[in-house]
């Protein structure tokens, strides 16, 4: 019995850390509508800063003061990010905000690495709380008890701040109607900066508070982000109470999952989330999050023009160039082109659900990496030939997409995106944790093409052919009646329903098609590399595809191709540098700040307005 009690209490103390971090994310989203993807990075920063501030002092004042100060410093870093970056992005499409915060992750990762080094750091022990307390006949570390007490205190603190101060009233008002708050004379910039401070402060506090339990390491940022997203989605975006309850549910499931299912404790968490979201699509305490009311202009960048493009000579030219390349027999060029083509293909599958479908997925690597892993596992355990696996691989991801899609299409907007991310993280963690089957971190090697495609040139042509064929199919689907229905669902699910379109079904099918295609890209990819590692399924891979779309522009069907090629080329070059993440992060941010409407947005309405006016005055 006592082991359960201990496990329960440890779950509660984990919940504290999770709640602190998640509440910060929830607050930031509630007011600014920005999904701060870099929230995990602030959590990590809090831990590192706390580590440095506290050192190995055994003075309780320094310990607790250090925790608090670490949170404050983290909050200030957040303020810097808000002022330099996010403030310029409140009016740009969600996708860009998201990718910008992804840039923040990269920068913080490398900076942390530069300052504190790669080694995991052992956290300080809390003075006076190093022992254990006997509770319910079991020994529980006293620090865990302290953490359990901390979160309700913070919860009450946040509540008082929000419901008993004018600042709190302003924040709640801004959550409802930002424009109106501005029109009443409130400086939104200050308000948002304050909110961002509070959110990052809480993340930093979470990171610092877990120091005695978990120390600090460079994996903390991505390590917590999926859980935090799950908590926020389950609790309801913007709801602090929801975050608290959800943090407890999730942490308890984890704590008990470890007892029963040590290999894949995370599965429980995601299952719970799935069940809760089916019953309550907006989370336990959330309100419906609809994109319907947004005026079209705000969504412009995620739309694809309805007119049919004429058959484009550019495509033919591109294919011609690609076909000629092997004649030169330069191996590394062929390798690079294959990678560019396959990643563009991957980006195009994401574009299909994002552009015409309006479904922003943060977890598309699930299908890309899933295809790769399916093939690699079949090769490893059954030695099946490539001809079979190029069908079996995508078939497996299609089944994944059917399953995942069934849940995801019940949601929309941010919830949809977060759920896809959560599923991708789930798949990643299974691959990562299940060493005995997947090889864990060491991946699977020795996956080479079989049959005629053993010849690199044949493989090259196979890649080009299958990719062009798939892209052609995708384009046909987009301009088919199904494609129109899909766009109708994106533009207004209410109206589509009214004219008898089964919105969920349409979106589900689109999601499945996309999953199948991404799986094909992944299947080819693993053959081109000869090996596969969990990183192909991880969050950064999902973001690669998003960044490619950003670079190429979501509006245009060639966008994924251009973006995919440019990005692959860039990464190939940039990863030669030591601090390439820093570099890439800064480049991403600059790109978004300088071209907030995407490269394709240079010809946006702002310029057209001015030209129109000029025409009239003359």
């Amino acid at each position: 019995m006592s082991i359960y009690a201990v496990q329960f209490l440890i779950g509660l103390s984990d919940a504290s850390v999770l709640f602190l971090t998640a509440s910060g994310l929830s607050i930031i989203f509630g007011v600014s509508r920005i999904v701060n993807f870099s929230h995990g990075s602030f959590y990590m920063l809090g831990a590192y800063i706390g580590y440095s501030l506290i050192g190995d002092s055994d003075n309780p004042l320094i310990f607790w003061g250090g925790l608090f100060l670490a949170a404050v410093v983290t909050g200030l870093v957040g303020v810097l990010v808000e002022i330099v970056l996010l403030r310029r992005l409140y009016h740009v499409p969600e996708l860009f905000q998201l990718i910008a915060t992804f840039g923040v992750i990269l920068v913080i990762q490398d900076l942390t690495f530069m300052i504190w080094g790669a080694e995991d750091l052992l956290g300080p022990r809390a003075p006076g709380l190093t022992g254990s307390i006997e509770l319910l006949g079991a020994l529980v570390p006293s620090y865990d008890i302290a953490l359990i007490v901390l979160s309700p205190l913070v919860l009450v603190g946040i509540w008082l701040l929000f419901y008993k101060t004018r600042w709190g009233a302003l924040v709640r008002a801004a959550t409802e109607d930002r424009e109106m708050v501005a029109a009443l004379g409130v400086n939104q910039n200050l308000l948002f900066t304050g909110v961002f401070f509070l959110g990052c402060f809480l993340a930093g506090l979470g990171g610092a508070a877990q120091l005695p339990k978990g120390g600090a390491n460079l994996l903390m940022d991505f390590g917590i982000i999926a859980e935090v997203f799950v908590v926020v989605v389950v609790g309801g975006m913007g709801s602090i109470w929801g975050a608290y309850i959800a943090a407890i549910i999730i942490s308890e499931l984890n704590a008990f999952g470890i007892l029963f299912l040590p290999e894949s404790s995370l599965v429980m968490m995601f299952l719970a989330m799935a069940v809760i979201l089916i019953a309550r699509p907006w989370g336990l305490f959330g309100k419906s999050e609809s994109m319907e009311h947004k005026p079209p202009s705000e969504r412009e960048d995620l739309t694809i023009s309805g007119r049919k493009l004429p058959w484009n000579w550019g495509w033919l030219l591109l294919i011609a160039v690609l076909l000629v390349i092997p004649w030169f027999q330069i191996d590394f060029v062929m390798t690079l082109v294959i990678e560019m083509v396959l990643l563009s293909f991957f980006a195009a599958t994401l574009h299909f659900i994002m552009g015409p479908g309006g479904m922003v997925s943060f977890g598309h690597a699930l299908f890309f990496g899933g295809g790769s892993y399916a093939v690699a596992l079949f090769v490893n355990y059954l030695q099946l030939p490539m001809s079979v696996l190029l069908i079996a691989g995508p078939a497996v991801t299609m089944v994944f997409a059917l399953l995942v899609g069934w849940f995801c299409v019940r949601l929309s907007g941010v919830y949809f995106a977060m759920l896809t991310l959560a599923f991708a993280q789930l798949a990643w963690s299974v691959v990562f944790q299940w060493d005995s089957v997947t090889g864990g971190d060491d991946g699977i090697i020795g996956v080479w093409p079989t049959g005629p495609a053993e010849d690199k040139i044949v493989f090259y042509y196979l890649v080009i052919t299958l990719t062009s064929l798939s892209l052609y199919v995708i384009r046909r689907v987009i301009s088919s009646p199904f494609g129109f229905a899909l766009r109708a669902c994106r533009d207004s699910s209410l109206r589509s329903r009214a004219i008898g379109i089964d919105v969920r079904k349409i979106q589900w099918i689109a999601f499945t098609i996309s999953g199948f295609m991404a799986g094909l890209a992944g299947s080819l990819y693993v053959y081109s590399k000869g090996s596969i590692f969990p990183t192909e399924m991880a969050i950064p891979r999902s973001f690669d595809a998003l960044i490619m779309l950003l670079l190429g522009g979501v509006q245009s069907p060639v966008g994924p191709i251009i973006g995919g090629s440019v990005y692959t080329f860039l990464i190939d070059y940039i990863t030669r540098f030591d601090y390439w993440r820093l570099l890439l992060g800064i480049m991403i941010m600059l790109l978004i700040v300088l071209f907030p409407r995407g490269i394709s947005g240079i010809f946006s309405s702002g310029i057209i307005q001015r030209i129109k006016l000029l025409g009239q005055s003359e």
Binding site: L170, E176, A182, A183, G185, Q609, L613
Partner: protein, 233 residues
Amino acid sequence: MLTVNKLNTFYGRAHILRDVSLDISKGEAVALLGRNGAGKSTTMKSIMGLLKPASGLVEFEGKTISGLKSYHISRLGIGYVPEERRVFAGLSVLENFAVGKQKPRQGGMEQTPENLFKLFPNLESMKDRPASQMSGGEQQMLTIARTLMGNPKLLLLDEPSEGLAPLIVEEMARTILQLKSTGITLILSEQNLRFANLIADKAYIIEKGEIRYKGTMDDLNNNAEVRDAYLTL
């Protein structure tokens, strides 16, 4: 007090306001009349900085305000009461007031909830109630009161009578007249003459984003041709 000079505003690529000019003196009550979709709200939002005009100039008390941020414009003394109410539904009456509260401007008065409860007696009894649990008329009163917490010198009222029962409309008119008597300058957007007649001295008529008529209310009432061309009854 307020001069609007050749304002042009777009929604995306749609050219909505075309060379809109207005001239409002201190203490006046001016009606901005026009049918559905004529551009009344767009004009107000452009003055308020909620929409960025592509060209044109807005001056308030001799200071150029076009291009300033909304909060800045509001702090200079322009109060904006939007159409469709837009109360903060999750906030109580007093909290809604708190959001609208601004420091008094130099030499100006400071508005207090107590004062506002004299003007809007209904609100007092529900001061701790969330705005979501109030009737449409009460919410409309609340948006006006909330804006008054910022001690505005000029008040932009966007269709305050919209969707209210006739009795409530009368009460609304009385309240606005009371406000007018305190010396506050008013711009009132309306679709029909009846309500405007109760309050305004002067009128502009806007149609398809262009000002088509400018004159006193009396002149307008005598000009059946203009009325029939631009207004619904």
